[in-house]
């Protein structure tokens, strides 16, 4: 028999689904903030509901993400040590700092949207100041994993880019989800333009999903044709999490939403036609479920080798 056996001590997997939940939920919050601010600046408050939902969702989701991270820590009550023992070379130190900043800025921005009579200029200024912080937090979530040569599955440049674009798409999906639900609750009442918002943002969402798919492809190629370590890590991750990753994360979370919305966009060229809200609802639910599964499979699969 040709064999290659190593007898060794138990090697454990130390990060579980809660790290994936932190990255995912916090990422959705970051994405929602970016979309809220860009919508406010670009559409000049044509669709205030989008910005309002994004602004309120953002600090709540980032805080919930942080709670998942804290629940994973052995000593959550010592989190203040990341301030007193700040380590400039640690992405986690920067993440803790900027994620806290993001919650504060996000809460101020949300308050400005909710408080009647708030200055629009001041609100936009807070939004613009929050944008770089949001981008740093988004990049940090990818950088956190990508920095370590010990984990070849994570240790690639495209991992950070894919993570950032993933936050934008899931953030957008979360806003659209609430818009779709809002439409169902009050069909003809306060927001008659909700359906048109969905129509406008749907195209943007499909574009972002396609870019996300392309960056993922670059990531996959860099692993599949990379070093022996990278190839081994990819094979090991595929063996344990491949079906979940490919079927739910990529198939249902990326490809099916693109196809569903493309068919809707191509099928209805007339922009005056009402968009198919249930179809959009299905799309955004798939994006959110797929987004979480994608991160879960990457976090877990990356620890195998």
């Amino acid at each position: 028999m040709i064999g290659d056996i190593t007898y060794t001590v138990p090697h454990l997997m130390y990060w579980d689904w809660r790290i994936a939940a932190d990255l995912f939920i916090g990422g959705v919050g970051v994405g929602a903030f970016v979309i809220a601010v860009l919508n406010s600046l670009y559409y000049k408050d044509k669709y205030p509901a989008v910005s309002k939902i994004g602004a309120v969702l953002s600090p709540i989701l980032i805080a919930v993400g942080l709670l998942f991270l804290l629940s994973e820590l052995g000593h959550p009550m010592r989190i203040w040590r990341t301030v007193t023992g700040f380590n400039a070379s640690s992405p986690l130190s920067w993440g803790a700092l900027f994620q806290t900043l993001m919650i504060i800025v996000g809460a101020i921005y949300a308050r400005m949207w909710l408080k009647p009579g708030s200055s629009k200029a001041a609100r936009n200024l807070v939004g613009i100041m929050g944008l770089p912080i949001a981008l740093i937090v988004g990049a940090n979530h990818g950088w956190l994993l990508a920095i370590s040569p010990a984990r070849p599955l994570w240790n690639t440049g495209p991992a950070t880019i894919t993570a950032m674009i993933g936050f934008a798409t899931t953030g957008m999906a979360a806003i659209l989800l609430l818009l779709c639900l809002k439409k169902h609750k009050a069909p003809a009442a306060k927001e008659p333009s909700a359906a048109w918002m969905i129509q406008d943002f749907r195209a943007l969402l499909v574009g972002a999903l396609i870019v996300q798919g392309l960056t993922f492809l670059v990531w996959y190629i860099s692993l599949n044709y990379g070093s022996a370590d990278a190839q081994a890590a990819l094979a090991a991750a595929n063996e344990s999490y491949g079906p979940l990753f490919w079927f739910v994360g990529i198939g249902l979370g990326l490809i099916v939403p693109i196809l569903l919305q493309l068919s809707e966009i191509i099928g209805k060229r007339d922009t005056n036609t009402m968009p198919n809200v249930p179809l959009t609802l299905l799309t955004v639910v798939l994006i959110l479920v797929g987004g979480y599964v994608f991160r879960y499979a990457v976090v877990m699969g990356g620890q195998i080798l």
Partner: protein, 235 residues
């Protein structure tokens, strides 16, 4: 009171600068180990030609360091390769490499992992927040979390013994005298003389960590990283 955009930006800039200036002095990312002439820089050479896989080092470490059940700071990997009659069995003692460029120190967000001037990478379980980032960053898989203390743990070359002038427990107990420990900055030390006279290898040199545990007779095929079982989640 109304705040102009200019004043708002100015205030934010000052606050940012103040935050940065208070953060940087507390920065724990920098580290300097002793250069030759400055003081000792500890390291180890493991002669695999002598090791016969008795696991005495693993047991000595467990006893000396009170390592919990199911966790190890130092152990011996045993690998079997080939097909009969051309088979090969390798023993590979593993412990913290006390790298010159330790990734665990770089990523620790609280400064719980730090490096002494003599090169020993330390772990302070009173400061550790238990994020396990150091475990993910270590290319050698030599860190674990203590199930009771809930903080990361690792080999520290038995500093409590070193500081008393006594060798680490694994070195002291090795029946085959396969482990040679000492000051790499002292050209007359046993470890320096061995390094000067014999070709040595280190684990996963491509990781760029510059390990200070060296091996004689290392077969890199036997030193490849261990694949973890997805079912073996930390409880």
């Amino acid at each position: 009171m109304s705040i102009s955009r200019r004043n708002f930006l100015k205030g934010a800039g000052v606050a940012g600068a103040a935050a940065a200036s208070t953060a940087v002095p507390g920065c724990t990312g920098t580290r300097e180990t002793n250069k030759p002439g400055d003081g000792p820089r500890y390291g180890m050479v493991i002669d695999l030609r002598r090791c016969f896989g008795c696991h005495a080092c693993s047991i000595a470490c467990k006893a000396e360091q009170d390592v919990p059940l199911g966790r190890f700071k130092s152990w011996v990997n045993v690998s079997e390769r080939g097909s009969y009659p051309n088979v090969r069995r390798d023993f590979l003692p593993v412990l913290c490499n006390h790298c010159d460029n330790p990734p665990c120190v770089s990523v620790c967000p609280s400064g719980a992992t730090w490096q002494r001037k003599d090169g020993v990478v330390m772990q302070d379980d009173e400061i550790c927040i238990g994020c396990k980032y150091c475990i993910q960053a270590c290319p050698y898989g030599v860190r674990y979390t203590d199930p009771k203390k809930k903080s990361a743990e690792k080999c520290d070359f038995c500093v409590h013994r070193l500081d008393q002038g006594v060798l680490p427990a694994c070195v002291n107990t090795c029946n085959a005298r396969a482990r040679v420990f000492g000051d790499l900055n002292d050209p007359d030390s046993a470890v320096s003389r061995l390094l000067a006279s014999t070709p040595v290898q280190s684990l996963r040199p491509a990781m760029g960590t510059d390990p200070r545990v060296f091996y004689i007779g290392l077969d890199q095929a036997a030193a490849k990283p261990v694949k973890k079982q997805s079912s073996l989640l930390e409880a």
